[in-house]
């Protein structure tokens, strides 16, 4: 094969790679996702405050032997180097400040990375109090930080616009950012459901249709005994849980295909919202449902936030015009 053909092939692959991972898209959707992610990170940090001493404190629950071995790739956490609980409260408070600054979009990427580091430091100190929802939040926040997530709906964007105005420049066009963060979120969710579906497929309870019944039966995970008892105490209730089990199993296994094909995308996302809503109402899963539904925003048209903004502005203008007409 001539060298020119090989080079041409490599160039074509690289063009596709750049299109897939780095093609510019409107920044509005990612900006709003940053706001919501910042809120989830802040809620997690606040949620941990009351139990901080026992979860990571000097007299708390953590692997002492691992901590004494010092900083390693597999374990780096500043909590190992803070000797007092007071110091830990201060550092955890600073993490909350970073979360809130990330949410409002001041030095967005830096604050995002700091938030991820703070979240990971808790995990490295004591991984046993965190669940899959926490992991999902950490991973998704990390993906957002790979792109200029503060390009819209942020203090950063407001400061940049003010600077342009002061310099006498025209307002900047709607900013575009690489699609890579949204792609990673899409792949993360599809991968998560596929892996979960495959593992569930191998489980007898999921095959027999009783998995949701047993999940709701345990007081360790159930949000409320009286809320789930109509489902557990009657034959009709059990039939409903069986349907829930089967729908969950097949939907998780095939989410990647359903969401890939445009005609079934809304179905996949709609079923996901219903399932995660049901999981959140019935089971204690921390931020798992919120983080999953948040991730669905990455599957919407990339300009969804701009479309909503345009619609809202037009509506406001129409209302103003109607008001003026009524006055005259």
């Amino acid at each position: 094969m001539p060298l020119s053909d090989i080079i041409g092939g490599v160039k074509a692959v690289w063009r596709w790679w750049v299109w897939f991972w780095f093609r510019p898209v409107q920044a509005g959707g990612t900006g709003l996702m940053r706001v919501l992610m910042g809120l989830m990170l802040a809620m997690t940090t606040v949620d941990i405050f009351p139990d901080l001493a026992i979860l990571v404190g000097p007299d708390g629950i953590f692997a002492e032997a691992s901590a004494s071995r010092g900083v390693r790739l597999a374990r780096w956490t500043y909590f190992d180097h803070i000797p007092t609980i007071e110091g830990m409260y201060v550092v955890h408070g600073l993490a909350l400040v970073a979360n809130l600054l990330f949410m409002i979009g001041y030095k967005s990427r830096t604050m995002g990375f700091l938030s991820v580091v703070a979240h990971a430091a808790l995990y490295q100190r004591n991984s046993w109090f965190m669940n899959g929802g926490d992991r999902l939040v950490r991973e998704m926040a990390f993906y957002l930080c790979l792109v200029p997530c503060g390009a819209r709906y942020s203090v950063d964007a407001w400061l940049a616009a003010r600077k342009r105005t002061r310099m006498g420049l025209r307002p900047a066009k709607a900013p575009m950012i690489p699609v890579v963060a949204l792609r990673l979120i899409q792949i993360q969710l599809a991968f998560m459901y596929a892996v979960s579906g495959i593992e569930k497929w191998a489980s007898g309870s999921w095959q027999r249709g009783s998995a949701v019944y047993y999940s709701l039966s345990t007081d360790n995970y159930s949000r409320s005994d009286w809320m789930v008892s109509p489902l557990l105490d009657t034959r009709l209730g059990y039939d409903i849980t069986q349907i829930g089990t089967i729908v969950t199993l097949y939907w998780e296994c095939w989410f990647w295909a359903l969401v890939l094909w445009r005609p079934t995308r809304w179905l996949a996302l709609g079923v996901g919202v219903l399932l995660h809503g049901g999981i959140h109402v019935g089971l204690m899963v921390a931020f798992f449902s919120f983080a999953s539904i948040w991730g669905y925003l990455a599957f919407l048209p990339y300009d969804w936030a701009e479309r909503v903004e345009t619609w809202w502005r037009r509506r406001r203008l129409e209302r103003q015009q109607t008001g003026r007409k009524a006055l005259t």
Partner: protein, 171 residues
Amino acid sequence: MKQGVYRAALSIFLVGYLLTGFASHNRKHDTWGPVYRKMRWMHTTLCLWQNWGMFAPPPGSTSWLVFEGTTADGETVEIEPLMRKVEPGYFRWRYDRLQKVALSSYQDSRRSLRKAIAKNACHRAAQAGTPVVEVKLIRDRTWSRRPKKRWADPNGKGRHKKIELGSYECP
């Protein structure tokens, strides 16, 4: 230039990250096993694990971790658990992370976690004014009943067992 460096650096990261994610689910495979062992630092360092079992299999029982302390004069005392048993008619707003710790401690392989829990129980007992020299961890477990048994008697109780998870000396 700046954009080129960004794309190249991120591309290298993406290839490594996605390969590690895929390899982590094929650890027993001849090719992917070594890839995972070489690359898993990407997951461990960044804490970006890709384990998504999520209720597969679902829990078949309710377990509460209880502590039994022994004082210096041999008396047995109860120590406040990480989370108290819920009473019938309960409703919870907030995810209880201490319960998550307790649930994680039941696996046989998690001896170091149980040791850490016991050490903390010793500390809390001393703070409460009842210092103990030894703490015993007990799993109070009640199995969920099969659907038909539950329909027949909604208020009945499932099989119940107390399982000793080990005794630990206080530091």
